[in-house]
């Protein structure tokens, strides 16, 4: 005798489908923090450079290379932030272009 047709078992140990946003949200928080941190640092450096320039205008004993270095540091921080912004915008546009 052939064995009877074995009934199809129900879905066993099926996990619930996790919502998509649970995995995505921490990464988005990281990106937002990245831009905010970058902005805070740039602001700090600009403020320090500004303070040093006005101190130099008043008091001549601050070596001039210190003032120039502070200005260059602020400039470098702005350039860095522009690059980071460019990369993040590119990544966002790539994601938006995906066909769903």
């Amino acid at each position: 005798m052939t064995s009877p047709i074995v009934p199809i078992n129900g879905l066993m140990n099926a996990d619930a489908i996790e919502p998509l946003s649970a995995g995505v949200r921490p990464a988005q928080g990281g990106f937002a923090n990245l831009i905010l941190q970058g902005l805070a640092k740039v602001d700090q450096k600009e403020a320090a450079a500004d303070k040093l320039v006005s101190a130099f205008a008043v008091d001549d004993t601050i070596p001039v290379h210190r003032v120039m270095y502070a200005l260059e540091e602020a400039d470098g921080a702005v350039q860095m932030m522009l690059q980071v912004r460019g990369k993040l915008v590119d990544a966002y546009q790539e994601l938006m272009r995906m066909q769903l």
């Binding site: 070596p63 290379h65 210190r66 260059e72 540091e73 470098g76």
Partner: protein, 141 residues
Amino acid sequence: MKAIEISQTGMDVEWRRLEVIAQNLANANSVVNGAGAPFRAMRLLSGPKKAFHRLLETGGLADDALAGVEVYGLTPIDTPPRVVHEPGNPQADAHGDVTYPGVDRAAEMTLMLKTARVYEANVVAMNLARQMYLKALEIGR
């Protein structure tokens, strides 16, 4: 940007050294036994920041071994003072001699040129380090 920080400390030290040289030259005619404090020509002592022993210990590039230079202090030069016979000078002593500090003007000028060249070398090093930094920002463009 540690290379830039190190160049900054180099520029600080050379700036101080130039101030000391300028002081020596400005006081070349200050009478030693006249009114006010007697002047002695000074030299600036500088060297690597105290973390140099870390460089020897670790035998290479530990993080705090390359820390730049700093001023260790001033040391007086022990050249004998110049004694000039000027009886008409109101600051002359009983023998009519006036003592000036032993400032070797040729040595001071030579040291000043060396200081200026080292300062310029530090500026060039800092500019190049900054160019490298900005080039790195072009990665992926």
